[in-house]
């Protein structure tokens, strides 16, 4: 599995899971489906970005940092659009970014080099 596909799948799974945890916040439970879809898309974007980054840069610390940055920015945008829940969205969203950043650096096949 290549790094971009790995990032996409892992981002989707973690994003969906992250969205599903909104169930623990009773105030938003009614919009759970929408939150899960939105969070999945956010995870996919972060995962693909981390995968592309991992193909270009071979460094675990930089990959984690990049994932953290992308996760933070995307989560911030979502929280900004929600007008609230900054801590509940940004903190876990940033960690999800770190996870996909690490995973795409450490695992998955690098793109084949062409002559």
């Amino acid at each position: 599995m290549n790094k971009v596909l790995l990032g996409l799948l892992l981002g989707a799974v973690l994003g969906a899971f992250d969205g599903a945890t909104a169930w623990f916040t009773p105030a938003v439970r009614a919009q759970l489906a929408g939150i899960i879809v939105g969070s999945t898309i956010k995870g996919v974007i972060a995962g693909v970005a981390a995968g592309v980054f991992a193909r270009k840069v071979n460094s675990v610390p930089l990959g984690i940092l990049f994932g953290l940055g992308v996760g933070f920015v995307l989560a911030f945008l979502v929280a900004y659009m929600q007008h609230g829940y900054y801590l509940e969205i940004i903190l876990p969203g940033s960690i999800v970014g770190m996870i996909v950043g690490y995973a795409t650096q450490r695992y998955g096949m690098a793109a084949a080099t062409s002559r």
Binding site: D18, F24, G84, L87, E88, P92, I95, I99, Y102, A103
Partner: protein, 330 residues
């Protein structure tokens, strides 16, 4: 009549041992090591202006059998063109009648000395794998080393690993089972540059205690196969991984035990099989030599994916903490 002193006799002896290199392209630089039947000198190849090592037979009275063996050792080495095996440049006879061969001069340290500066077990195992590469290559050419031990492995200045001293090598492929042994009973009185090579009985038992296989120690020369070298590699692995009384992990210990099994059938069949198991150990995978229980399997899984698991755990912890203890201001 005056008698010569011991000191004078020693000097005369040393003088007579210095090989006469006139008429050759080499200029002697100094003695490097003394082996079972020959002395290795550093020399300069004046034509190519490079340093080489010359292995010269130290018998002035010219024992034909020893000369023949040195020639055969050079021929064996010449067949083994591999980055992990020291290349031979030339073989010939000096003006004083002594047979010699010239090979690459390897600057570096013996493995046993080099390991003092390598603390990490994975790094040590990677060195061992490169020894396996060279030995496996020799086996594909039908050559057994028969004297693998730390002193016979050199690590060069740039980290290159070279398997040295093929003086006991045995060619498996030929019909007459040519024995390229370079030591026999005659050599018992010589200092050995690599430690205590054992010579007993009719000169058929050759090798180093602790590193030679039981069948080699019994002198079963005719039936030796690659598994004899695998035994030596197992002992070498134990030395490399367990030096300075490090506590070896069970999987690694099991690999050593399997390679050093007293019965040939219990050992790995080929050197690549051994190398694959060591590589699997390095990669944190299960090894063929050791059947682990569930707890050990879980521990290995955790070690392999430690950081990833810790990240996931951190995420879950954050989520649970937020769900349980954080109440949104709304």
């Amino acid at each position: 009549m005056r008698h010569l002193s011991d000191k004078a006799i020693k000097r005369l002896r040393e003088g007579s041992e210095i090989p006469g290199l006139h008429g050759t392209r080499y200029r002697l630089l100094g003695e490097v090591a003394r082996g079972g039947m020959g002395v290795v000198y550093a020399a300069e190849d004046e034509q190519l202006q490079r340093r080489v090592a010359l292995k010269v037979l130290d018998m002035l009275d010219g024992e034909a059998e020893l000369a023949d063996r040195l020639m055969r050792e050079a021929r064996v080495l010449a067949q083994l063109e591999h980055p992990g095996i020291v290349p031979v440049h030339e073989v010939g006879t000096l003006a004083d009648g002594r047979v010699f061969y010239a090979m690459k001069f390897v600057e570096g340290q013996r493995l046993d000395q080099y390991l003092d500066s390598v603390a990490s077990v994975p790094d040590r195992l990677r060195l061992f794998l490169r020894v396996c590469d060279a030995v496996a290559f020799a086996h594909t050419r039908g050559v057994l080393h028969r004297d693998l031990k730390p002193a016979n492995v050199m690590v060069g200045l740039f980290g290159e690993v070279l398997v040295m001293d093929w003086g006991l090598a045995k060619i498996l492929a030929t019909a007459d089972d040519v024995d390229v042994a370079t030591r026999d009973a005659h050599d018992a009185n010589h200092d050995n540059m690599n430690g205590a090579a054992v010579v007993t009985g009719h000169g058929r038992v050759m090798g180093t205690p602790g590193y030679m296989s039981p069948e080699q120690a019994r002198g079963e020369v005719d039936t030796l196969d690659v598994r004899s070298d695998i035994f030596s590699l197992g002992a070498l692995l134990r030395f490399v991984a367990g030096q300075k009384s490090r506590r070896m992990e069970r999987a690694l210990e099991a690999i050593c035990d399997k390679a050093c099994s007293a019965e040939r059938v219990g050992r790995y069949s080929t050197v690549p099989d051994l190398a694959v198991d060591v590589s699997r150990y390095l990669d944190g995978l299960a090894v063929e030599a050791y059947r682990e229980n569930m707890l050990e399997r879980a521990g290995r899984f955790y070690r392999r994916y430690r950081f990833f698991i810790l990240l996931i755990a951190t995420y879950l912890l954050v989520r649970v903490t937020l769900a349980l203890f954080y109440r949104h201001p709304d």
